[in-house]
């Protein structure tokens, strides 16, 4: 069995092995193998290509942009997604604008260990996909499965545009698959994670698993819930969502990020505008609460959406 985290390491191993333009840069990612061990062993296998960076997020990203301009394919690790705020200027104003301004693409990958885990608190739990997806020029990936963690990271390296790779810390060890995939859906295509005809739940990253658990629970009550895994939130595969809503007539969108704006609002805005007539009931969204992510597990468990809270909303929606 291979975990989500191991898949990320394996993808980086393969990228380093296959492409001499790839190098890894980030805090403690060298011999130490990274705060989460996502680069374990890579410094040894690829001497001189896995570099420990100073505690300088802005310079880390900025240097990766320069290297990309000079033909490299850097993969940058932020120790936690939350710290990317210190490198955000380079991401949104430099990397994201480069191709549009100069016609030169900026193939960097920024790995963001994202999302909440028990006890991690306000500064080690954030989901930043909405921030980055808002900005023109960035690709924002949010893999929910071991297979996607692997294949999408490889694709991220191959893509000429800057990719924000939101990997979910909660899935690192929890999620396991029998083997690495040999083929994959391309980025930009959502996946029907479970088929159903009574309602569509759209989710991404860790929330896909809450949605699937909710669907299980509702199945025992006789409901067939379709679950869509967006896989990437920019580009966002509106067509697959619309096709599902066309089948089910009901839409629930779940995200772990803060409620104002973000992925859930974007999905609902698209479906409301493009698929209004497909909806038999108001679209519903569930997000985290509108506070920083709490430290204590009691609070954290309530702050984020869970299978239970999703199911409660889903039942209401099914009865509308």
């Amino acid at each position: 069995m291979i975990t989500y985290l191991e898949a990320i390491r394996e993808a980086q191993h393969k990228a380093l092995a296959d492409d001499p333009r790839v190098y890894l840069y980030g805090q403690d990612i060298g011999n130490f193998g990274g705060a989460f061990k996502a680069t374990k062993g890579l410094a040894k296998d690829f001497p001189g290509r896995v570099l420990d960076a100073p505690l300088s997020e802005d310079a880390i990203i900025g240097s990766a942009i320069g290297a990309a301009i000079d033909g490299m394919r850097p993969i940058v690790e932020m120790q936690f997604a939350d710290f990317s705020t210190c490198g955000l200027n380079q991401i949104i104003n430099h990397a994201a604008t480069l191709y549009w301004r100069t016609n030169i693409p900026c193939p960097i990958v920024v790995r963001l260990p994202s999302g909440g885990t028990a006890g991690a608190g306000p500064f080690h739990s954030q989901s930043m996909e909405a921030l980055y997806a808002h900005y023109p020029g960035l690709i924002v990936m949010t893999p929910a499965t071991v297979e996607d963690a692997y294949s999408m990271l490889l694709e991220a390296v191959a893509i000429d545009d800057p990719v924000i790779f939101c990997e979910h810390k909660y899935l690192y060890y929890h999620l396991k698959a029998p083997a690495l995939p040999t083929e994959a859906l391309p980025t930009g295509k959502a996946r029907v994670a479970r088929q159903g005809r009574d309602m569509t739940i759209v989710a991404y990253s860790a929330m896909v698993h809450e949605a699937l658990a909710c669907a299980d629970e509702l199945a025992s009550e006789g409901w067939q819930i379709e679950v869509i895994d967006l896989r990437s939130v920019k580009p966002l595969d509106t067509d697959t969502v619309l096709a599902s809503v066309a089948r089910t007539g009901r839409l629930l969108v779940v995200g772990e990020a803060f409620p104002w704006g973000g992925v859930t609002a974007e999905v609902i805005a698209r479906v409301a505008q493009e698929g209004f007539s497909l909806l038999d009931a108001p679209p519903v969204r569930i997000n985290a609460k509108d506070t920083p992510v709490p430290y204590h597990p009691n609070l954290w468990g309530t702050h984020r959406p869970t299978a239970r809270t999703i199911a409660a909303e889903a039942r209401k929606l099914l009865h509308l």
Partner: protein, 340 residues
């Protein structure tokens, strides 16, 4: 704030009293953090535990250089300084154990605690961020025409690489604010050795580039720490502007309790001194106390800690049901998210 000591009768008495006081803060911090580490290993603490083992002398000296009314923004390895500045044992355990009665009410945890209204700022994780914040408190006082108080904040060698450190120290220098910036060069930022962090001959060489006063100190030597920090505080209070202190030591623990610090250079490890042991030897050597006294102090401290833990463990955790789920203090401005 320093606990009140009897008025010293002579300079030597004063030095002795300060040393002993500092030692007791160090001891309190060391045992508190040992207990926290034990609780962590026992699964009683969710989230990370980061301790200041080896850094207590520097930290205690920092806390003791401050007076009531001063400002302190400690960092992750500053338990001793937090105590010296006036933090209660209950605040510590209530935060680590997530009691709803603690200052952070389970909303934030471990080292992310403070009582900002009492001049004790609550750090955010983003390293360097507290530097301009302390400068801002001091600027506020200058604007109101208040003088006499100073501020201190602490950083590691790694955090000197942040833009926030640079901007914050420079701003404080431009405004000539009474800010003490204590850099604990403990040789590693998590696993990263200083050689991957900076290549200046000595971090204290940075002082000239900001136009601030800089001094170096051996952080394993409590007497030196006390003298250096006191002098820095006096200089700051006297209007000489920011004081950059570069203190050297080796971190004697993992980055956090999850980390076995296997990456630490054995040569450094071998040469390392533990400031607490050094202080104990000094106290005994100077005959300021006997080995038996030290044992008694340790027992006293341990009992207090155990009491605080016992109290805290009986306290209720936060209840999501009566939590106010809003980050906005002005009720009429809370955004109306419909219930999910």
């Amino acid at each position: 704030m320093s606990s009140p000591a009897a008025a010293p009768t002579s300079r030597t008495d004063h030095i002795q009293a300060r040393y002993i006081e500092a030692y007791r803060w160090m001891l309190l911090a060391r045992i508190t953090e040992e207990k926290i580490a034990t609780l962590y290993r026992g699964g009683k603490i969710v989230g990370g535990v980061f301790i200041g083992k080896g850094q207590e002398a520097l930290s205690a000296a920092t806390g003791m250089a401050l007076r009531p009314g001063d400002v302190f923004a400690p960092l992750i390895r500053d338990q001793a300084g937090r105590f010296a500045f006036g933090e209660s044992l209950l605040d510590v355990f209530r935060t680590y154990l997530g009691s709803r009665l603690g200052p952070m009410r389970g909303r934030d945890g471990n080292v992310h605690r403070g009582r900002p209204r009492e001049g004790y700022l609550a750090m955010v994780s983003h390293l360097g961020a507290m530097v301009p914040a302390v400068a801002g408190v001091l600027l506020a006082r200058r604007l109101r025409g208040e003088s006499g108080t100073i501020g201190a904040t602490c950083l590691g060698d790694g955090a000197t690489s942040t833009g926030a450190f640079h901007e914050g120290l420079n701003l404080a220098a431009v405004e000539k604010l009474p800010l003490i910036l204590v850099v604990a060069n403990n040789q590693y930022a998590y696993s990263t050795p200083t050689s991957r962090q900076f290549v200046c001959a000595d971090l204290v060489d940075r002082a000239a580039g900001y136009g601030v006063e800089g001094r170096s100190v051996d952080a394993t030597d409590l007497a030196a720490c006390l003298a250096t920090l006191q002098e820095a505080a006096d200089r700051a209070r006297a209007g000489h502007g920011p004081q950059l202190i570069i203190a050297s030591l080796l971190r004697l623990a993992g980055h956090g309790e999850h980390d076995d610090a296997g990456y630490v250079d054995p040569v450094l490890k071998k040469a390392a001194r533990d400031c607490l042991t050094v202080a104990e030897q000094h106290i005994i050597g100077e005959q300021w106390a006997t080995a038996a006294d030290l044992k008694t102090w340790r027992m006293e401290v341990t009992r207090k800690i155990e009491d605080a833990i016992a109290t805290t463990l009986r306290e209720p955790p936060p209840d999501p049901g009566d939590e106010q789920w809003t980050a906005v203090s002005t009720p009429r401005l809370r955004d109306g998210f419909f219930e999910a």
